[in-house]
């Protein structure tokens, strides 16, 4: 329902905004010439069109529009897919979707293989002439097997009868299929089917395995036919499957063929036995010839016209079922782009873009589910708040050796078994955080961890990179000394460090933050240096002649002048850090958005993968917007001088 409304809203807004935009262009033509920056200002309506278009593409290619408007279509298409599945093997025998008969193509391939092996034998230097004649004799015998199968006079009565039986079965199915009330379901069958339907759920359901908190992939397309149209296809598919199995059990082996192939096999066997160990090559060739003969034996090769009736019957049924699909066919083509529903054994599934592009509605449902702190992902919520005692923070900040360096000894228990606290022991309790204060809420979870890693990497990068960059921009020694170092490491893609990180820094946050620090550091150094060396000399001279000290020049002239460069550098670094974060969390992780994505990939949880992608996009955007606000606040003069 919601999907329907949203789809219609999207269409309305796109059309409305385009019309508004066109009218605006016409009125503006008069007062703004091409090239006037005013023409790029505003334009909220185009933002709406852009976002709506993205959403529309998503809705369309994830087949959510189909689900919204025709919720039963997947179930019906599943039944159609069952027919396709049953027909696949049979159809493949005939030039219906292929260019030629299966028999024809097999004969072609095997003749080619026989030619190839003949040429190999003739040109072989390891074979004696006598062996060559014998082997070529076998090849000729194998060649002669084919006409025994394709000769219409030789085909057995029994085989003919079976083929016509199957043909009649297909024809009967076709005539039944046309009938309104096919498959003549009884009341009992119907009630059983209705029961199965009530149990199978809807298209695209998600369940949570309670307790473990893991999200399982479940049946995405209901399997049992829910509509009368679907039921028809389901029943026909079952009958076709039986016919299909019968056909593949049938062998066109007439007595002449049987005796010739047996003769050939025995002859080759005897010949191979008679060969010595050093005549292995001849033996191998003989073996390969028999393999070709056996392939011919097991392939469904029939005389050219023997299956004509059957082919007609299959084509007739195929056309019939396509006609019967009617509107469903159109839905399949239009609303199921890049793929369709495929039946496979006891389940139907979406194959094509619907498989790897989850529906917005499903994604939203799963996101809501995962946002629940009790579910989360792998027992850790996406973002939640934990009450933490301030004492543990105090304990984390104060180093433990403070207690150690105090004079005196730690308390020892008395002979009565009582421990009496002394001052040194009390200090130890404080520095290790072993006391109670008030509790404060602290965020935790996958999103928070990822955010913190990026933030820390960035902060360290700025703290070290900016002063160093400024120093390098102002001092010959610093520039000369650090330049080769930085220029050498800067072009290295940050991920190149990744394989070393675990061995050197371990699997905790240190390694990941360090990787992100490496990313932001070089960017910050370069931008701070460019900012410092780009300061106009006249401004420095002016400050100098007004009596400013070195520190004052640095603080009031050079630093403000390089701020635009530095802030732009930070913006670039944020983007790079996000890019590296996912890979860093791929390495080894228990938390983080990249970890979630990596694990979801292993379990084919496409919804989760897309959720992580969106979360990262949103967080990146959030960082960028914050920075833009900071830039507007701190350097309002940028781009105006």
């Amino acid at each position: 329902m919601l999907t329907q409304i949203i789809t219609i809203l999207i269409f309305v807004s796109i059309i409305g905004c385009i019309m508004y935009g066109r009218r605006l262009i016409q009125t503006e033509k008069v007062d703004a010439v091409f090239g006037n920056p005013e023409r790029a200002k505003g334009g909220t309506h185009w933002v709406i069109v852009g976002s709506a278009a993205i959403l529309l593409v998503w809705l369309y290619y994830s087949w959510d529009i189909a689900k919204g408007f025709y919720p039963k279509s997947a179930n019906e298409l599943c039944q159609v897919a069952k027919i396709n599945e049953s027909l696949l093997g049979l159809k493949y025998q005939f030039p219906i979707e292929e260019r030629e008969f299966k028999s024809t193509s097999i004969i072609k391939i095997e003749n080619k293989n026989l030619q190839k092996i003949t040429a190999e034998i003739q040109n072989s230097k390891d074979l004696s002439n006598e062996q060559k004649t014998i082997l070529v004799g076998y090849i000729n015998k194998t060649k002669k097997l084919i006409p025994l199968l394709t000769n219409e006079d030789l085909i057995e009565m029994d085989t003919k009868i079976k083929i016509s039986e199957m043909t009649n079965e297909i024809k009967e199915l076709s005539s039944n299929f046309k009938k309104e009330d096919y498959p003549f379901e009884t009341e009992v069958e119907k009630s059983e089917r209705l029961k199965a339907i009530s149990e199978q759920g809807n298209w695209g359901i998600i369940t949570v395995r309670s307790g473990t908190g893991t999200i399982e992939n479940t049946i995405e397309v209901p399997f049992v036919a829910e509509t009368s149209k679907g039921l028809k296809f389901q029943a026909a598919a079952e009958e076709l499957k039986k016919i299909n199995d019968k056909f593949f059990k049938l062998r066109n082996h007439n007595p002449q063929f049987k005796s010739s192939i047996k003769g050939l096999k025995d002859e080759v066997k005897a010949y191979r036995k008679s060969l010595d160990d050093n005549e292995e090559i001849a033996s191998d060739y003989a073996k390969n010839i028999v393999k070709i003969a056996r392939r011919i034996e097991f392939a469904s090769i029939y005389p050219p016209n023997a299956l004509n009736e059957m082919q007609k019957a299959i084509i007739e049924f195929d056309d019939l079922q396509e006609n019967e699909q009617a509107g469903l066919r159109l839905i399949d083509i239009v609303l199921f782009p890049s793929g369709t529903i495929v039946a496979s054994g006891p389940s139907c599934s979406e194959q094509g873009s619907g498989r790897w592009l989850p529906k917005p509605s499903d994604t939203l449902n799963k996101f809501i589910l995962m946002s629940n702190p009790n579910v989360g992902y792998k027992n850790i919520p996406l973002l939640w708040i934990e009450m933490i005692d301030v004492s543990s923070i105090v304990g984390f900040i104060l180093p433990d050796w403070i207690a150690d360096i105090l004079p005196g000894e730690y308390p020892v228990h008395t002979s009565e078994g009582i421990v009496k606290e002394n001052f040194k022991g009390k200090v130890l309790k404080v520095v290790t955080g072993d006391f109670k204060l008030f509790k404060i809420p602290v965020p935790y979870g996958h999103i928070w961890d990822s955010f913190l890693r990026v933030f820390l990497g960035l902060v360290f990068g700025i703290i070290i990179g900016v002063p160093l960059g400024l120093f390098m921009g102002l001092n010959r020694f610093a520039k000369g000394f650090f330049d080769p170092l930085i220029e050498l490491y800067r072009p290295v893609p940050p991920l190149a460090w990744a394989p070393l990180i675990i061995s050197v820094l371990g699997i905790d946050n240190t390694g990941k933050v360090f990787l992100l620090f490496m990313v932001s550091l070089s960017i910050m150094i370069i931008s701070a240096r460019a900012g410092a060396s780009g300061t106009q000399l006249s401004k420095i001279h002016a400050a100098h002649s007004l009596g400013a000290s070195k520190r004052q020049i640095l603080r009031h002239v050079i630093f403000p002048n390089s701020l635009p460069e530095i802030l732009t550098g930070i913006r670039v670094a944020v983007g790079m850090c996000w890019g590296t974060l996912v890979a860093a969390e791929f390495l080894a992780g228990t938390t983080g958005i990249g970890f979630v994505e990596n694990v979801a990939k292993k379990y084919f949880q496409y919804e989760v993968i897309w959720i992580t992608i969106f979360i990262m996009g949103m967080l990146g955007l959030l960082f960028d917007i914050t920075l833009r606000k900071i830039i507007d606040k701190t350097i309002p003069w940028r781009g105006k001088g």
Partner: protein
């Protein structure tokens, strides 16, 4: 404006067609396999015997994990996956991928996939419950995760109380060496070698075998290929079993196999010694009521994913 609309419609049309074009039947069989994971039929691959037996060219592509094999099969780039791990297969079937299990490539003991605890932690099978609350490295979604789960049941430790870190085997080994984790579950000769240097196996090969922990690699095939070319599939499996037969009777060409699996002959022989290649009869038994069947049921696999009709019995 008209141009824009026609462009958009055109590209939608092209996108919609792209999938069907990718799946068009090709006159070759595309097989996925692993390097450094030897099997007797790689000799036939090296000598192009598969192409001779199937009558069409066979293209072998190597993969690094079973999940990628599934992805390639679903994208229509691979027809048969040889020696795909059972866990990735089960994950794929659980997400309704249209692929079928048609043969067992090999069964193997814990020799190739195992959990190693570091010596520094002092944790052994006897005090295994001490793992609770500690960090362990596990490559999730692989056979190693299964081995981890089963081992924890054997030693009586609660998985949910551990800090499980998702790590590929090479990194798991590195983390064990640096002391970041107390246990790493891994597969692959080199990783295990590195891990055992600073630790020991939680369960010895024999203990694991007694506990019924074993790995199974399988042959899986796309539904489409199975339906369209049953003959080729049967031949493929037949040639594989012939090669297994040859290996059992000691007639395999080890040099060809080592070349195909890109391993040294000695290393390969050591890996092979942990593998058990089943006869067609054993395979059928395992698929219907034996190890494989128990494994599938234990992992809650939906039924109908196994087809024994292609075995050369």
């Amino acid at each position: 404006m008209k141009k824009l609309i026609s462009f958009i419609l055109g590209s939608i049309f092209a996108l919609n067609l792209s999938i069907t074009a990718a799946n068009a039947a090709a006159n070759e069989v595309r097989v996925a396999y692993f390097l450094e994971w030897p099997s007797p039929n790689l000799e036939d691959m090296q000598k192009k015997n598969f192409a001779k037996a199937l009558g069409v060219p066979v293209k072998w592509t190597n993969f690094t994990n079973g999940g990628a094999m599934t992805d390639a099969m679903l994208a229509g780039d691979i027809d048969i996956s040889y020696s795909q791990g059972l866990v990735p297969f089960i994950n794929a079937v659980k997400s309704n991928a249209p692929i079928k299990l048609v043969d067992i490539a090999m069964e193997y003991g814990m020799g190739g996939t195992t959990c190693v605890t570091s010596n520094a932690s002092g944790i052994t099978k006897a005090n295994g419950s001490e793992l609770e609350g500690k960090k362990v490295a596990v490559p999730l979604g692989t056979m190693a995760e299964y081995v981890f789960d089963e081992s924890m049941k054997v030693i009586g430790a609660d998985r949910s109380k551990m800090d499980i870190i998702q790590m590929d085997p090479e990194e798991g080994a590195a983390a064990l060496v640096s002391g970041d984790v107390v246990m790493a579950c891994l597969f692959g000769g080199n990783s295990i070698k590195a891990a055992v240097a600073v630790g020991s196996r939680l369960l010895t090969v024999q203990e694991a075998r007694d506990a019924g922990i074993l790995g199974i690699d399988i042959t899986s095939v796309t539904d489409k290929f199975m339906k369209e070319n049953p003959g080729m599939l049967r031949t493929f499996i037949e040639v594989t079993h012939e090669a297994n037969d040859r290996y059992r009777s000691g007639k395999s060409d080890m040099n060809a196999m080592s070349k195909a699996s890109e391993m040294k002959v000695a290393d390969m022989k050591e890996t092979l010694s942990g593998f058990k290649f089943l006869t067609p009869e054993e395979t059928k038994q395992s698929m219907e009521s034996g190890n494989l069947d128990g494994f599938l049921k234990g992992m809650g696999t939906p039924g109908g994913a196994v087809d024994t009709s292609f075995l050369p019995l």
